[in-house]
């Protein structure tokens, strides 16, 4: 079983220059790895740094120390030191991310938002749209909405567009930031099935799930982020 993601001794803090250079430590000595076909869940109380870890792993947050090794294009790349170009390539081909909130674009239809990552990987637009339609219907998004830009959708509808966008590709690593937070029971079950399918296909998944039921059904193991917390109150 391969290990497509290895995180070792990662430290992250924020320096708030607008508040007199106040340094806010977030996490320290984060070390774990992720195997193909497993779903690990980040655990711990809120504010402990779970979302920050996902953002570091996706390259949105820079880190102070440590390594984030990602198996990409036949080798390992340290995301912490990779060039922006390399990070974009890793995101395109290897590393997927379902964020909590959809960043909507003006005038782009929901189905095209979903199809985009596949087209970016060289798939024909028609094929990508067919696949997007399949995912959206599986997630019970009314077909009347597919051609509309998702800016005016409800929270749950936007989240389903976001999930479809994250699952349309076969990225080997998938980061999930509370993908089921605003979904009803039926759609939560669909997402759980989709995660199961991806595990079967050998994808390494790392997620944050506040819903105990969902967490219990998808998690192979829990990574307790409290152990890495650099904040004294949280660590206590």
């Amino acid at each position: 079983m391969s290990t497509p993601l290895v995180v070792s001794e990662v430290r992250k803090s924020f320096t708030m220059h607008l508040r007199g250079g106040l340094v806010l430590p977030v996490v320290d000595n984060v070390s774990f790895s992720l195997k193909a076909g497993e779903c690990a869940v980040l655990g711990g109380p809120s504010g402990v740094g779970k979302s920050s870890i996902l953002k570091m792993l996706y390259g949105n947050y820079a880190i102070d120390a440590g390594q984030i090794l990602i198996e990409h294009a036949g080798g390992f790349v340290d995301l912490a030191t990779a060039s922006p170009r390399a990070v974009i390539d890793i995101r395109r081909a290897t590393l997927g991310y379902v964020s909590q909130f959809l960043r909507t674009l003006p005038r782009v239809a929901a189905i095209d938002v979903v199809a985009e990552p596949l087209i970016a990987r060289g798939e024909a637009a028609e094929t990508a749209r067919d696949k997007a339609a399949e995912l959206l219907s599986r997630l019970n998004l009314p077909e009347a909405l597919w051609r509309l830009p998702p800016a005016t959708f409800s929270g749950g509808e936007q989240q389903r567009v976001n999930i479809a966008r994250g699952f349309i590709t076969d990225h080997r690593i998938l980061l999930l930031d509370e993908p089921t937070a605003s979904l009803d029971a039926v759609n939560r079950a669909v997402v759980v099935e989709m995660i199961e399918a991806r595990k079967q296909a050998g994808t390494a998944l790392l997620g944050i799930f506040h819903d105990d039921d969902v967490r219990a059904r998808v998690a192979d193991r829990i990574i307790d982020v409290s152990a890495f917390s650099a904040r004294k109150d949280a660590a206590a």
């Binding site: 607008l18 390259g59 949105n60 947050y61 170009r85 674009l105 970016a120």
Partner: protein
Amino acid sequence: MTAEQPLLKVSNLSRFYGGRIGCLDVSFDLWPGEVLAIVGESGSGKTTLLNCVSSRLQAQAGRVEYRMRDGRLRALSDMGEAERRFLMRTDWGFVHQNPADGLRMTVSAGANVGERLMAVGARHYGHIRETAVDWLQRVEINTDRVDDPPRAFSGGMRQRLQIARNLVTAPRLVFMDEPTGGLDVSVQARLLDLLRGLVSDLGLAVILVTHDLAVARLLSHRMMVMKDGRVIEAGLTDRVLDDPREPYTQLLVSSILQV
């Protein structure tokens, strides 16, 4: 493989206005298909940098090299005026903030789009007009406006026409100076969407000067933050905006109005 080599190499570029700094010691590479945003406040040197890189303004120090279509990297300063101007109207584009600076306001939209073709030797009226009509469609201008001068166009249409005029020769590198500045928000959204589509369909490399971080977020892969003529922070657009490191960048990011 040319795709694995930078399209543009900028090294230690400096420009002074008398004793004052325009831009100082700026270096970066730009790759094919990459969109680089240069952000900063008015007077931070972003437009000076854009003009120096695009050789509209002479830098006093440093070097700009460009990979020609034959794959060779050439210093712009080693080219003759004729070659540089030819490059600027074929393989490069320049989209001005004010469309009147980039258009011929008194000749028709069709001739505005066709000019670059005629400049490189197109001599068939029917073909030139066909191409112009095709480009008007691509930038969502009604084709029955092909014979109207841009004076009769709205601000958003003028800007879209300016983009068509630049893209008609299939350039590989386009410079944009606040392309959405001065437009209504709804017009701006439409233009941004159009630009996003064109950039990814045509695989354009773009250097985009903007003071609008939302525009930079939407269009760019990579970002450079300028202050007092210097690049103070650079990196992946998401990273710079989500985790700004420098005091000035934090100030810029924290000053964005939330809607």
